[in-house]
Subunit: 691 residues, 2 copies
Amino acid sequence: MSMDVSTDVHAAWLPPEAFRALGSHRVLVQGDGPQGVTVYEEVAQACAAYGGRVGRAPGDEAGPYDLVFALTGAEPALPEAAAVLAGGGVGALGDEGFLTARRDGVTVVLADAPAGLLYGLFHVVRLGEAAFGGGDAPAEAHRPAMRTRMLDHWDNLDVHPVMGHVERGYSGGSIFWRDGGPRGDLPRVRAYARLLAATGVNAVSVNNVNVHTAETRLLTERLGDVADLADVFRPYGIRLHLSVNFASPVVLGGLPTADPLDGDVRAWWGKAAARVYEAIPDFGGFVVKADSEGQPGPFTYGRSHADGANMLAEALAPFGGEVHWRAFVYNHTQDWRDRSTDRARAAYDHFAPLDGAFHPNVVLQVKHGPMDFQTREPVSPVIAAMPATRLAVELQVTQEYTGQQRHVCYLGPMWSEVLGFRPWGADSEGRTVAALAADPAAGGGLVAVSNVGDDPYWTGHPLAQANLYAFGRLAWAPHSDPAALLDEWIDLTFVPLLSRDPVPLRRALHAMMDGSWHTYERYTAPLGVGFMVRPGHHYGPDVDGYEYTPWGTYHYADRDGIGVDRTRATGTGYTGQYPQPWSAVYESAERCPDELLLFFHHVPYGHVLQSGSTVIQHIYDTHFAGAEEAAGQRSSWQELAGSGLVDAALHARVLERLDEQVRCAQEWRDQVNAYFLRKSGVRDARGRHIP
Amino acid sequence: MSMDVSTDVHAAWLPPEAFRALGSHRVLVQGDGPQGVTVYEEVAQACAAYGGRVGRAPGDEAGPYDLVFALTGAEPALPEAAAVLAGGGVGALGDEGFLTARRDGVTVVLADAPAGLLYGLFHVVRLGEAAFGGGDAPAEAHRPAMRTRMLDHWDNLDVHPVMGHVERGYSGGSIFWRDGGPRGDLPRVRAYARLLAATGVNAVSVNNVNVHTAETRLLTERLGDVADLADVFRPYGIRLHLSVNFASPVVLGGLPTADPLDGDVRAWWGKAAARVYEAIPDFGGFVVKADSEGQPGPFTYGRSHADGANMLAEALAPFGGEVHWRAFVYNHTQDWRDRSTDRARAAYDHFAPLDGAFHPNVVLQVKHGPMDFQTREPVSPVIAAMPATRLAVELQVTQEYTGQQRHVCYLGPMWSEVLGFRPWGADSEGRTVAALAADPAAGGGLVAVSNVGDDPYWTGHPLAQANLYAFGRLAWAPHSDPAALLDEWIDLTFVPLLSRDPVPLRRALHAMMDGSWHTYERYTAPLGVGFMVRPGHHYGPDVDGYEYTPWGTYHYADRDGIGVDRTRATGTGYTGQYPQPWSAVYESAERCPDELLLFFHHVPYGHVLQSGSTVIQHIYDTHFAGAEEAAGQRSSWQELAGSGLVDAALHARVLERLDEQVRCAQEWRDQVNAYFLRKSGVRDARGRHIP
């Protein structure tokens, strides 16, 4: 594996060798603006490495050309490009789209705007030699499904005494901040921006949604530091966002209130926004976690979340900025004795009544499930409940509840399921979660919490890079096959090695990773019930860890059964937040999908699943199987040692993580099985040892 | 309540008013050395406040005297003192003993050494006017039962990222250290020394037994800071000790090993000890936690704990120093699946075979129970197993597992039970735990972990001062009635208020505190099973918190029953570590005392206790009762508000703690009851609501 020389970190899915095909050809780059310059520089660097040539004009000495990047608005540079344009039929490409075609031996990439050329460039990189072979190919348009494809960093400026440098970060410190100020490693930020652009990401928020004191000042005193980052992201088509503290007018402005209907407060935010746009003309906007887990918000002043969001929206509107207002609002001081309060209901109960009340530049950012990024959750009912609101779906690339980058857990398949979910059932052609978030008029996009830190491999576990990659690619094209994206990631990341003997490594990696989410699910909390993790850090098993806490995350296991009754008939009524058919499907213990049964129903241990197994036997079987699969992953990886297919340092890093995963999976297996054996008294039908 | 002006902290049990009787009389002080000076100064201060007179010689102007403090070795100062001496019959008083008598209207306090006069002084303070009334009284000798009466501070030099400034401290920061160096508030240290001397404490260790990097250097570079503290403790008869890092020869000395049999290592320690005694001629010695919870120790080098302790003992012997070697050694990375390993066995298994192998200046410091300062434990079998070893019994004044100074929990009765326990049964006259620790030839004494910090009330919860007081008094006189000590503490501490209207306040405090240990026991872990606390910080309930961890602290509850089988017949064999009759008593589920049943036996929920209740009903009953009692304590205290009997600040502080105690007790009640209802399926026979 090669390391990026400039920053001494792993090259991830952009090793120099990935540019071999591109860099071996004669390339014409006609583009302007920061992203146009980036395309030219990328091509020039590739050509310098692999013997190709890059030119700016049709007639210059670098020609004749095999590949041309050109803007549609300009005079066609080459006849082949002109011919593609004249062919028409693909319609407007938009700010970020591009088309590819092949005509008379020339590969053509056209875009309406420079950012489109940038995405076209990385498309050509992915294609490799295939971009240059064969006869004429008709124009093929590529447009991102999601308008906003965003990564939120939960980075603190300094090491927080409890939450660390990056909240829920498992890859070292922040790449942006250190010791309360900028980290100063802009080449690394640029390398990150480049990696993100190659996946299609176009927005980044650079600080934690829990905005502590120092971070609050990014909006004012530290704005220069933010502008420096924006300058680095801009050439890669990425707009920068800030998480802001709703109480900023009090904390920074010295006002007596942060009431969103107060005139002085509104004026303060207006001035703050103006200052930001003076420094960063293409600033993306604000991310806000309000009235959640202790963060301030409009509730303090008896105002609604629409009041709060709209106030910020008005401040940003003159400059084209947007507010990402998070819907993660719930009572985190719930009484565990009170079974009528249901955290799963909270986002819908808070926000569905506000549908239509938000300004057009407010994006309501909704976690994909109703709880908190569990390994398995139903899709949040909020997503189907707010047709007059722009919605962004929030995923979690950082593996807070899915192994914390110590476990292999490729999340592409989970996200793919979420994005492909049809809230109105199979017949509702087109109305998937992805379509709702992608709606060109109303959609807000796809957002995820980043898993990147200052670790040399970016993501701690080298294989966790695949999650970052898949997120960007799914945000661009939500109905991509996650298994194909995995292979795409493998082929790019390991290209230097694959060129030698591709099959065993690709096969081994694919086998280890493709089903790894299901493996992780098998050895952790069963049947959608969630949590059962150690409180606080959320790593490893603790079946009752959250059972008697104020966090609203319970399983209610007793000697007879387990699960949360969220039915309308006898439970919290949460099933009623879904439209049909899901409302009825989830309501029924017989029809509810097995993998979500305990999320919706409290059932006896002897309840027979659709799979034919009982709940208790399913618990035993999946936990034995999951731990065994984890051990199998390790064996596969061990077999690669000494093969020369993977470099020694990366092999060792992954193996160290696999050792921990195998240990932890066995711990999950034994704790969960022992807990339920002690509680149910039902022995394993297969007679295996349960401690 | 009065505050000590010099240090702006609460006067605890030495308010100026406690010296009223003493200070109203004419007092002759004949004593020398630092403690003799202290006696003179204390008396002078009291007389200045209350109109008495103090003198140094029989004939001086302060006389004639009502009270005389004199050394037995000197020429009798007053005829009354000479008469008492001539009376004889009390034998040698020793370094710390004193005698009191009254002859011809003069109260006489005599001692062989100045420290004895100091303890006599505080005895007179406790007596108040009673010291001066009545006719002649015969000589009455007072000698401390325990040679060493020691408080161990688990203070770090700086705030430890996980354990805080004072490990298991609930009273603010260290009174000795701050920011990695001395705190510099020597008047406060002196006030502390004075309080301790008044209880009879004569030894203090000033740093955490978990010796981190900075603390390791107290032995060398920071020795001057230690000497400064020793100078402050000396006038109150308290010898200073240090916790040392067994790996010091490596960490500080740059040696390649800390092997206790290595010549260079032994030479290093010898020199280190010599340097310490140069700076502090009356230095007490070292406290060592070795091979425990990650601390280094002789096991690293394949040596025994006798090897380790004896090496340090040899270094200290030339100077009269002692090694306090802690017996708290166990496997803290135990596999919870392994039911044959029993942490309770560990200290005995490690140390009993070493009986007789320790040098005479080694004191083996044994926690009073086999586990870790739980609310209820059996007495450690180590205490009866090492007749040829000097043993100190270690108690925990700081309320790690007993409410963390947020709950009222007067521990005097618990310690009294421990000290009065007869390992060989009721017939073994005199052979109590106290007697073993007090044995004048072999005994090591009584040690406790301090509950003091830089809180204005010293102990966070003002009523937790009573534990510190009772500890010192029990170390001096182990068979004191803890209820009487409580009253003694109340009478001294609240004397300014009691003089107004003593009865309601004394009655209320006594009622709140005397049974508070049992109250705390009722609402926490049942029947001696222990733990069930939140892991890490150990506060509040988490029934399964330690159940699947490596710490060796399990309850093994399943749907049928609960408890740890430590019998010889079917369990870990731990009962065999006790001599008869306890070995047989504990072995029998029928004879085992109820309060320890689940420590020794795994029994069904329907098991009938000696009390006649079943285990499950006992759990419900005690948890309802305990929470109710806590609420009753709060009501009693609330009734005192506005009575003027307690000052407002102290009342508010205690009330705030009681609020938390009541909340937490209800949380314990509900979590424990809900847990066992869910698990057992047995409903409360009295039909009370269990959530």
